[in-house]
């Protein structure tokens, strides 16, 4: 089978699989978030945690729960890494250094999974399993919980309650992530991913060198790594490593997993607001952007050959696994940067300027097409609020979305939301570029070197976690700066989203009339897509011009 046919087949199978699970998965998540009854195991957990499962929280209380939970997780994870030499299954690794432990803790709690370390030579099995993998579950669940609160803001009327964070969190983990991750871990094992508690094997290679191979509970972590749009690999090479991602089948499965929940959440949204068409409109915007991005990266990698190696290979094959090829690598790259996953099966640094620039642009979009679990949907809904506000004025009404008026208070939070992440990216990048020592971390010069720094801050602030690589980030400064970027990039938007949810929930909905801006038609899909691309484009154009554009245009 030639590459092109294989590529098209993979894309077709992927889309078909996503389409098949859209309804059942989306409906199931809606049921989880709205069901009245608790499972026995959940009741036990509530009792253990001292949680009143029947309580309905105000947005402030919901937010405090999110922040408190996350703070505890950061502290726990930090301590875990710092004390790992005293723990079981440490494989003899030393404690992680303070700045790196902070960076890693922030990274996994924020669903970013930026890794300034190499997993196989830094983290023991227990830290991987009980520390990092646990965060893979709960950080993903936090995102879904927050978007559930936002949707309730739209659906509820005249109340200051937006749900119960502890219930949302527990249910998503227990009823959604654990069972799915369990099933898919077994499937991944079947494709050849490893799952054991082995230590380090030293083997002699054919050329006489020695190679250290670390085994471990890889498949179980891999499943949730993709499913929860986390992206933190067991190994440094991430999904390019054959123990994590053995072949084309596992590769396609991993792409499916990292898209599945985020692409199905619009269904959940449609179901909860009682109008599936609203869900389809959001899905259409996500799908359009995703498809365009896949197409652009693939075309660039196939045809815009910019390196000598590329010329001899007939495509940008440098930094890509032979067993995946250009098509599957481009598909993975687009999907991983458009969700907040950040797992990689190829080296984005070696992509063509256009393809690499596209991965940066994908993250700059704010991880919304389809984005991280929950965070993707709340991100696109906030952008929809902005789009509805401007467009709504153009139909001669005080703008309203799903019956809720967008007044000063709502616009304040939506504006702060769209302001937060770009501010972190731009300030972070600008600061790094103005510090001589930090510039020295770049392994390349010229615009490409700058792209590496831009990529790092874009990835951290948008909670993606993938790395352009080609930059030495395990320094005190980068560990701290990027750690802060991740924390602010995650929790500032969450604060604004929950505040928005509270403000929306208080309103009495306005009935839909012929004068209401319809938000389920192709017109709105086009409008929202346009607003997203233009607002993001305008914000980052100068930075992109000095990086990928300067590199790509000759």
């Amino acid at each position: 089978m030639n590459d092109t046919l294989a590529g098209w087949l993979q894309i077709t199978v992927l889309i078909a699989a996503l389409a098949l699970t859209y309804r059942p998965l989306g409906d199931y998540m809606a049921r989880i978030l709205t069901a009245g009854k608790h499972l026995a195991v959940e009741k036990v957990l509530y009792r253990l945690g001292g949680v009143d499962a029947e309580a309905d929280q105000q947005w402030g209380a919901y937010l405090r729960s999110v922040l408190a939970f996350s703070a505890v997780c950061v502290l726990f994870l930090y301590g875990f890494q710092r004390l790992q030499n005293h723990l079981l299954l440490s494989l003899g690794f030393a404690p992680v250094k303070a700045d790196q432990a902070f960076n890693t803790a922030a990274s996994f709690v924020t669903n970013t999974n930026w890794q300034s370390y190499s997993g196989e030579v830094t983290m023991g099995h227990l830290v991987q399993m009980a520390g990092l993998a646990v965060q893979n579950f709960v950080s993903a669940a936090v995102g879904i919980a927050v978007v559930a609160a936002l949707i309730r803001g739209f659906t509820r009327r005249r109340t200051d309650r937006v749900g119960n964070f502890w219930v949302d969190l527990t249910r998503v983990v227990v009823r959604l992530l654990l069972p799915m991750a369990f099933v898919f871990a077994i499937v991944l094992v079947a494709t050849g991913a490893v799952q054991n508690f082995h230590g380090i094997h030293e083997i002699g290679t054919l050329v006489g060198d020695k190679q250290a191979l670390t085994g471990g509970p890889v498949a179980s972590q891999e499943a949730i790594k993709e499913l929860g749009t986390n992206g933190g690999g067991f190994y440094n090479a991430n999904s390019a490593h054959p123990f994590e991602n053995p072949d084309g089948t596992s590769n396609l499965l991993e792409i499916y997993l990292l898209l599945a929940i985020s692409f199905s959440l619009p269904r959940t949204f449609g179901r909860m607001v009682g109008d599936h068409r609203q869900g389809y409109a959001v899905l259409a915007v996500m799908g359009l952007i995703w498809a365009a991005s896949v197409a652009l990266i693939t075309v660039n990698e196939l045809h815009s050959v910019s390196s000598t190696a590329g010329h001899s290979a007939g495509g940008m094959l440098e930094g890509k696994e032979q067993r995946f090829g250009i098509w599957a690598s481009a598909l993975f790259a687009a999907s991983t940067t458009l969700t907040s996953t950040g797992a990689v099966n190829s080296f984005h640094d070696s992509f063509s300027p256009g393809g690499g620039g596209m991965t940066i642009f994908n993250m700059m979009l704010g991880e919304i097409a389809p984005g991280g679990t929950g965070s993707g949907l709340y991100g696109i809904l906030v952008l929809a609020v902005i789009a509805v506000f401007v467009a709504g004025l153009m139909v001669g009404r005080t703008p309203e979305y799903l019956g809720k008026k967008l007044g000063a208070r709502e616009m304040k939070f939506a504006s702060l939301y769209i302001l937060a992440t770009p501010a972190i990216v731009l300030i972070g990048t600008g600061t790094a570029m103005s510090l001589k020592g930090e510039r020295a971390s770049m392994l390349n010069s010229g615009p490409h070197g700058f792209s590496e720094v831009l990529y790092a801050f874009t990835s951290a602030a948008n909670n993606n976690g993938s790395a352009f690589a080609g930059i030495g980030v395990n320094t005190h400064w980068y560990n701290t700066a990027l750690g802060l970027a991740m924390l602010f990039g995650r929790f500032l938007p969450i604060i604004f989203v929950l505040a928005l949810a509270g403000s929306l929930a208080r309103q009495q909905p306005v009935p839909v009339t012929a004068g209401t801006l319809p938000t389920h038609r192709p017109q709105f899909v086009g409008l929202l897509t346009g607003v997203i691309v233009i607002v993001v484009g305008l914000t980052y154009f100068p930075a992109l011009a000095l990086g990928p554009l300067a590199e790509g245009l000759h």
């Binding site: 902005i386 506000f389 401007v390 467009a391 709504g392 004025l393 153009m394 139909v395 001669g396 009404r397 005080t398 019956g403 967008l406 007044g407 000063a408 616009m411 304040k412 939506a414 504006s415 702060l416 769209i418 302001l419 770009p422 501010a423 731009l426 300030i427 990048t429 600008g430 600061t431 570029m433 103005s434 615009p447 700058f450 009495q508 909905p509 306005v510 009935p511 009339t513 012929a514 004068g515 209401t516 801006l517 319809p518 038609r521 017109q523 409008l527 346009g530 233009i534 607002v535 305008l538 914000t539 980052y540 154009f541 100068p542 930075a543 011009a545 000095l546 554009l549 300067a550 245009l553």
Partner: protein, 713 residues
């Protein structure tokens, strides 16, 4: 309901009526007189005061930028820095000019109003009580009047303050406020007791109880309103300002953090260039015009003789989802009119028409006159004096009949027309019996919402008396021309119309159907109306209504948009958030359109402003970095002459577009009632796509000119 009696048919003094006739569906506003730009210029410079500018975050950034480039140009002079500096200042001045022009129009209006506020001496009555025939008088300056004082005003005198007539009746010239020269009647009691300070009594004498403090009269408030002195930012304006401020911060950050990147790229940028980039990117177009749009929206209402007490009310008008319209005077013409003659078997229609006309000649009520007119128009019966000796029997409320007694050759023919029961009773009194078809005919008319009038005849001939019913006149409410289409339009805009009437449900339903309103409230009491408003609002709807009576006041206050008629009571005017000086309830529909137009103008210019940025990037970014990275010159798609000319062109375009859009901001964008989708589609095409494309052409054109300026090559 109070809106049933004769209402002055107004001739709006503003341009509204004329414009409406030329373009039936277009909300229009005043055009911009270029002279206004010039006269407003000093005001525009005055507004450069940073304490004023800071209220508009976008333009404040421009001013700060202009100060920075001025300093830079002074320190390091050159053609380019000075060109940028001058145009940045101009950008700020143009923005202020927009606001000053908008305010200037209000000021002119306020000036004419002020002239009416001449200082008058009031004749205060000391200890006046009802029925006081010779009250003691004392002269008091109008400014010294207190609430509750009684003053007497006689023909030729100016009413010293707002109040209610408590004794007497007078004709009053209110042209100072309404522009309407025909005098109006003001009398004590009822809904026409309110008088406004500054208007002149033309005849008779009235005693007025003062209801407002000096300095807070209606005219004072009008002056403050049209001048914009009491202008506060409206909720939507605040929301939009927040969005604009946040975009400004984003662009500010993007440019501030650009410098280290530029330094790394080996293309450090001068302060002038960085400021130019910031100003080009932040949404200056909408930022400059935002307040002018709001002021102009109020002004468009003023031109239609409607005073909005707050900008909030104008905005709410755009959001209205339910319109409560009084039937009489708004949906139907003031009175019922004869629509058809229905003869009983054996009588021709001409005979009936003739009899009906004769019987109605003495009926001076509008209904009676309409019978004469119908007979004349439909059956060619000229209004005429009957031959022979005729004795007219005028219509009275007691007899509920009118008619004529004709004596010819000793015979005596009596014709009567009137309420069905009265005429039938009269026939029976004279020994006649209505034929069997009369009952069903009257029932059918009543069922259809009309009012049946019966025409009867009693003939005394040769000592014998025969009494017969000739037929029935169908009286009905006449729906104003074009109302059905208007309501259809409103429906497409998503607005539900509810007709309010004191009629019985049957009648109300028939008229509602004919007029095409969505719903009706029959036998409405003020309490019903209030309940209806509350019910609608509980469902999240916004309600607009008109009213003039004191009993309308609570509903006017409750409604989101309450338009009080100027002819109404002070209580009603106090309760509503708009006053229609023409007292034309149909104007409610126009008010809604103006509210929508205001919001659309804001949205359209915001979209335009943001879309403009794309072209500006393509002008400025290659200009900044093409030296360091020659590949970026490919982004110079406009083929601009040089880096300096490119940046200058973008800044000049940015400033000129503000001037270019001032007329649009003042006039409002074109608005035709249609569905939200269509409106949005059109506005996106014009202001979104247009905003994307236009600056490419504009910047290129400017570049073609300024490339010849030495120092910009």
């Amino acid at each position: 309901m109070s809106l049933t009696t004769d209402r002055p048919q107004p001739v709006p003094s503003g341009g509204g009526a004329a414009a409406r006739q030329q373009e039936p569906h277009r909300v229009s506003g005043g055009l911009l007189d270029p002279k206004q730009l010039l006269t407003s210029l000093p005001g525009a410079f005055g507004k450069l005061d940073p304490r004023i500018m800071v209220k508009n975050p976008v333009m404040f950034v421009v001013e700060v930028g202009a100060v920075l480039t001025t300093a830079s140009a002074v320190k390091d002079p050159g053609v380019f820095p000075w060109v940028i500096t001058v145009w940045l200042w101009l950008t700020a001045v143009f923005a202020n000019l927009a606001e000053a022009v908008a305010e200037g129009r209000g000021k002119a209006q306020a000036e004419t109003l002020r002239k009416t506020r001449t200082e008058t001496v009031a004749r205060r009555l000391v200890g006046w009580r009802h029925g006081d025939s010779a009250p003691a008088e004392e002269p008091v300056p109008a400014a010294g009047l207190r609430l509750g004082d009684h003053v007497v005003v006689e023909a030729g005198q100016v009413i010293p303050g707002d109040g209610d007539v408590v004794e007497g009746i007078a004709s009053v010239d209110e042209s100072a406020i309404t522009g309407e020269s025909a005098p109006v009647i003001r009398e004590s009691g009822g809904d026409r007791c309110a008088v406004t300070g500054g208007t002149r009594v033309l005849s008779d004498r009235v005693v007025v109880k003062i209801t407002s403090k000096p300095g807070e009269t209606f005219i004072d408030r009008m002056i403050a309103l049209v001048e914009g002195a009491s202008r506060q930012k409206t909720p939507n304006e605040i929301a939009l300002n927040i969005l604009l401020a946040s975009l400004t911060v984003v662009f500010l950050l993007a440019v501030v953090t650009l410098q280290p990147l530029a330094v790394y790229a080996g293309a450090e940028q001068s302060l002038v260039v960085l400021v130019a980039l910031v100003v080009a990117l932040i949404p200056t177009t909408i930022g400059a015009l935002l307040s002018a749009i709001g002021i102009a929206g109020m002004d468009r209402l003023v031109q239609r003789n409607v005073l909005a007490m707050s900008g909030r009310a104008v905005e709410a008008a755009g959001d209205v989802t339910t319109l409560l319209l009084d039937k009489t005077g708004t949906i139907t013409l003031g009175n019922r009119q004869a629509a058809a003659f229905l003869p009983v078997a054996g009588v021709t229609i001409d005979e009936l028409a003739d009899a009906a006309q004769l019987a109605s000649l003495s009926d001076e009520t509008p209904e009676g006159r309409s019978v004469v007119v119908l007979a004349e128009e439909r059956y060619g019966l000229r209004g005429r004096q009957p031959g022979g000796r005729a004795e007219f029997v005028p219509f009275t409320a007691q007899s509920r009949m009118s008619g004529v007694d004709l004596a010819e050759d000793g015979d005596r023919r009596e014709l009567r027309k009137g309420a069905a029961s009265a005429v039938l009773h009269w026939i029976e009194e004279n020994g006649g019996h209505p034929t069997a078809d009369v009952g069903p005919m009257t029932d059918a008319i009543a069922a259809g919402g009309g009012t049946p009038l019966v025409v009867g005849e009693v003939v005394h001939r040769d000592g014998r008396t025969t009494a017969t019913v000739l037929g029935v006149i169908h009286l009905k409410d006449v729906v104003k021309a074009g109302m059905r289409e208007r309501f259809g339009e409103l429906r497409r805009m998503g607005i539900r119309t509810v007709m309010i009437t004191g009629d019985n449900p049957l009648t109300a339903e028939a008229i509602a159907q004919e007029a095409g309103v969505d719903d009706f409230l029959a036998e409405a009491t003020p309490e019903d109306k209030m309940a209806l408003i509350k019910r609608e609002q509980a469902g999240g709807k916004l309600v607009a209504m008109t009213g003039d009576g004191t009993n309308d006041a609570p509903a006017l206050a409750q409604a989101d948009v309450g338009v009080a008629m100027n002819t109404g009571t002070s209580a009603a005017k106090e309760a509503g958030n708009m006053v229609d000086l023409d007292s034309d309830p149909t104007k409610l529909i126009e008010i809604v359109e103006i509210g929508k137009q205001l919001l659309i103008t804001r949205g359209a210019l915001t979209t335009f402003s943001i879309a403009n940025d794309v072209a500006k990037y393509f002008a400025i970014i290659p200009a900044m970095f093409a030296v360091a990275y020659p590949g970026l010159d490919k982004l110079n798609v406009m083929g601009l002459h040089s880096p300096t000319s490119a940046i200058a062109s973008a800044i000049i375009f940015n400033a000129l577009i503000i001037i270019g859009l001032i007329p649009l901001a003042l006039r409002g964008v074109r608005y035709r009632p249609s569905s939200a989708s269509k409106l949005l589609g059109r506005n996106i095409r014009v202001y979104g796509i247009g905003g994307l494309v236009l600056p490419f052409a504009g910047i290129k054109l400017i570049d073609l000119v300024i490339q010849f300026v030495p120092g910009l090559r």
